[in-house]
């Protein structure tokens, strides 16, 4: 088992190296016409997305070791950090990201890194599948004993079989999903694994003109101490 884990870590590093180079090349473009700028944005977007997913896959493998500590986490701080990181990519892809915080409960029980990845994957999906100039909406609201973080996109409808898997809160394998065009559903697979680890519930709501993905996290009882 240990050798297998080592192998995955090595593979992850091997996969990251060319992606990091690809990203640097994209950044090194200095003489560009409009088309050059578009290609550069795509290279940057693809490489940053892939690097993060490789990192997340490594974390999925490490979930079994229980190395990710749970504790009170500020939902707003995580959402702000993720949206700050993604603002650049949203701009490059001519998409917009809006945020709305309607929650009174500030802290949830979670792991910062895992929650960051869940929200990141939702927002990246929203960016990828939203129509050009569409707005992806990140909303945080209270829901009984939980805080619900929801990402609404305006793109193709989510296939019914994926929606059923999301309703179950568990996606078996990334490759088993007939996801929306151009995706293996890896981001949702990662989000489902991380959510389960954090005792959070993920799900999706189908709309005529897009999808809302959400994760519900238990409110941190330590919040009452403050």
């Amino acid at each position: 088992m240990e050798k297998e884990v080592d192998g995955i870590l090595v593979a992850a590093h091997e996969l990251k190296a060319p992606l990091a180079v690809l990203r640097q090349l994209a950044l090194a473009f200095d003489e560009m016409d409009d088309r050059g700028e578009h290609i550069r944005s795509e290279m940057l977007s693809v490489s940053e997305r892939a690097i993060r997913q490789v990192n997340d896959l490594t974390k999925v493998r490490r979930l079994e070791d229980g190395l990710f500590q749970m504790g009170p986490v500020s939902v707003r701080a995580v959402c702000d950090a993720v949206s700050h990181e993604l603002n650049y990519l949203y701009g490059c892809n001519k998409k917009e990201l809006s945020k709305s915080y309607r929650n009174k409960s500030k802290l949830v029980t979670a792991n910062w890194d895992l929650l960051y990845s869940v929200i990141y994957n939702f927002l990246l999906n929203a960016m990828h599948y939203s129509d050009v100039n569409a707005i992806a909406e990140l909303t945080v609201r209270d829901a009984k004993d939980t805080v619900k973080i929801e990402v609404r996109d305006y793109g193709p409808e989510l296939p019914i079989d994926v929606w059923r898997e999301m309703r179950r809160g568990w996606i078996e394998k990334p490759t088993s999903i007939a996801m929306r065009p151009g995706s293996s559903g890896l981001g949702l697979f990662i989000a489902s694994r991380f959510s389960k680890y954090m005792n959070a519930q993920i799900g999706a709501v189908r709309h005529r003109n897009g999808t809302s993905f959400y994760v519900e996290l238990p409110i941190s009882r330590q919040a009452s101490l403050f």
Partner: protein, 115 residues
């Protein structure tokens, strides 16, 4: 002059281009150490850690073993996570993550440590 030590030549060239000054690229630590032993002292070094042959830390150990080379500022450029680790004992003045760094980060160190 600046040294860039990275076994990935394309990455090394990206760093060199971003530095925007006279740069020597080495794809392994031994070549870089030999050059320094021949008396060519860089103003600073951008160093990868996972190298073919002796790794970056072997190189750093050599560097801090001699008073003249111990003073050369080194910036680690790696995909490994060094968050929270104090590497100043190795003469390391900064760490850049290959997955996140931008050309301006490299220029920032060049502006600070190279003339």
């Amino acid at each position: 002059m600046i040294f860039v030590v990275d076994d990935d030549e394309i990455m090394a060239e990206c760093v060199a281009k971003a530095a925007g000054c006279e740069v020597r690229i080495f794809t392994n630590a031994i070549e870089a150490m030999n050059e320094i032993a021949d008396g060519i002292m860089p103003e600073m070094i951008f160093l990868d850690i996972l190298l073919v042959g002796p790794d970056g830390f072997t190189f750093l150990n050599e560097m801090v073993s001699y008073t003249d080379t111990a003073k050369i500022p080194v910036v680690i450029v790696s995909s490994l996570d060094f968050a929270g680790r104090d590497l100043s004992g190795y003469g390391v003045v900064g760490v850049l993550n290959k997955e996140k760094m931008r050309p301006k980060d490299i220029r920032g160190y060049v502006g600070k440590y190279a003339k």
